[in-house]
Subunit: 213 residues, 2 copies
C-alpha cells in the first residue's frame, strides 16, 4: 500500500473549477462518447462510498430506440402535467425552460439501486436504511464529476414516472430508479446553472454559513 | 463568462487518486482543522447540484460538549442494538469493527435537509420528490471530496436514531437528518476501505460492467 498523496494547491484549484463547471447539461452534441471513456467513467463511479461497502448501484445503458422513445414519451407526459399544475407567469416561465436533453444526447444511462442488498450484510443501515439509496446517489455524482473532467456532459432527468421507466427498461421490479441520465458532449458549456441564467432561481448565500449548535 | 476549462490528463489522474483515497475515516487526530479551511469546504459543498437549484442542505456544526456526548450515547445504543441482532461469527466480526470516530474527531457536522423547500419552486420533484434529499447527499459528497483533497478526513456515521439526534440538536423537526459527519485529520490514511481490510466485505467487479437494455 502506497502512502496517501498530498494534493497540491494547483490540483485543489482545478478541483474547485471542476465543481464550478459541473453543470446539469440539457444541450448535447450528437456525436458519441468513445466506449473506452464510458467504461472508465463507470469504473470510476464504482469508487464512490457505499454503506457497508454494499455497492447497491446498477448502471444500465439504454440503447434500444423503442425504449428511448418510450422514455421521451414519459418525460413529455410528466412535464406537461407539471406545467399544467402551474399558473400565470410561473407557468409561462416553466414552459420556456428546456429541462432535458433526451432527444440529442447520444447516450442514455438509467441508474437503479438495490433497496436491500446482500452485499454489505446490512452494516450501517439498521436505523437509516435510506443510506443504501444515498450510496447510489454518490456513485451518480462521482460519474458526473469524472465525466465533467473528461469533457463529457451529464443531465439528470427526474421528470419521469419511475415505475413506468422500470417497466420500459424491463428491470427487476425490486430495484429503485434513482436517475435517468443523458450523457454526451455539451453543446453550450456554461459555468452558471441554466435555471439561474433563465431567471428561475438563484443560489442562497446563507447556505454557505455554518449553523452552530 | 469565461470558457469551459479543459481538464488536462494530469488533473484527471489526480482526480482518480482523489476518488481512490476518499475514505470513510474512523481514526482521527485530535488537532482541529483551521476555521478558514472548514469555511472553504462548506462553500465548496454548496456548488453541488440540487434539483431546481433548491439547495435544500443545512450544515450544522455541533460544538456543544453535552450535545456531542448525547450523540455518542445514541451511537453506542444503536450500535449495541445492531450487534445484538447478529449471531455467531457475524456478531464477533461486527463487534471488532470500529464504526465511528466520534470520540477523537475534533469537529462534528450534522447535515440536514429541507424536505419541501420553497427555493427551486418545486421544479423537477413532482414525480421524484426524493431528489431533494438526494441533492443534500451530493453536497455531503462534495464536502467529502474537497476535504480529502485538503488532507481532511470525513467519516459518515449512520448508526444513529435520526429523530433522537434532531431533538439533541434542537433543529426544526421538519428537517430530515441525512448525515452526521466526523471531521478532522486522519490518523491512518488508507487506500483500501476499512471494511475490506478487516474482511467484512469486498467490492463486486460486476458492478463495473454496463447492463444493456
Amino acid at each position: 500500500m502506497t502512502s496517501m498523496p498530498v494534493f497540491p494547491p494547483a490540483f485543489c484549484d482545478q478541483l474547485h473549477e471542476l465543481f464550478m463547471w459541473r453543470r446539469d447539461v440539457r444541450h448535447f452534441r450528437r456525436d458519441p462518447v468513445p466506449e473506452s471513456v464510458l467504461a472508465e467513467l463507470l469504473a470510476t463511479a464504482c469508487l464512490a462510498p457505499s454503506v457497508g461497502l454494499s455497492e447497491p448501484w446498477r448502471f444500465v445503458r439504454v440503447d434500444d430506440s423503442a425504449r428511448r422513445q418510450a422514455v421521451r414519451d414519459d418525460f413529455s407526459q410528466c412535464n406537461a402535467a407539471a406545467l399544467s399544475a402551474r399558473a400565470g407567469t410561473d407557468a409561462g416561465r416553466y414552459a420556456r425552460l428546456k429541462l432535458a436533453g433526451l432527444d440529442d444526447a447520444p447516450h442514455h444511462v438509467a441508474v437503479l439501486s438495490h433497496p436491500d442488498p446482500a452485499q454489505g450484510r446490512g452494516l450501517g443501515r439498521a436505523t437509516m436504511p435510506q443510506t443504501t439509496t444515498w450510496s447510489t446517489v454518490m456513485a451518480i455524482h462521482t460519474f458526473w464529476l469524472a465525466a465533467t473532467a473528461a469533457g463529457v456532459g451529464v443531465g439528470w432527468v427526474s421528470i419521469l414516472n419511475p415505475e413506468r421507466i422500470k417497466a420500459v427498461l424491463d428491470v427487476d421490479p425490486a430495484l429503485e430508479l434513482v436517475a435517468y441520465l443523458c450523457v454526451g458532449y455539451p453543446a453550450q458549456p456554461a459555468v452558471t446553472p441554466e435555471l439561474e441564467r433563465r431567471g428561475w432561481e438563484q443560489r442562497a448565500p446563507e447556505r454557505r454559513e455554518w449553523v452552530h449548535r
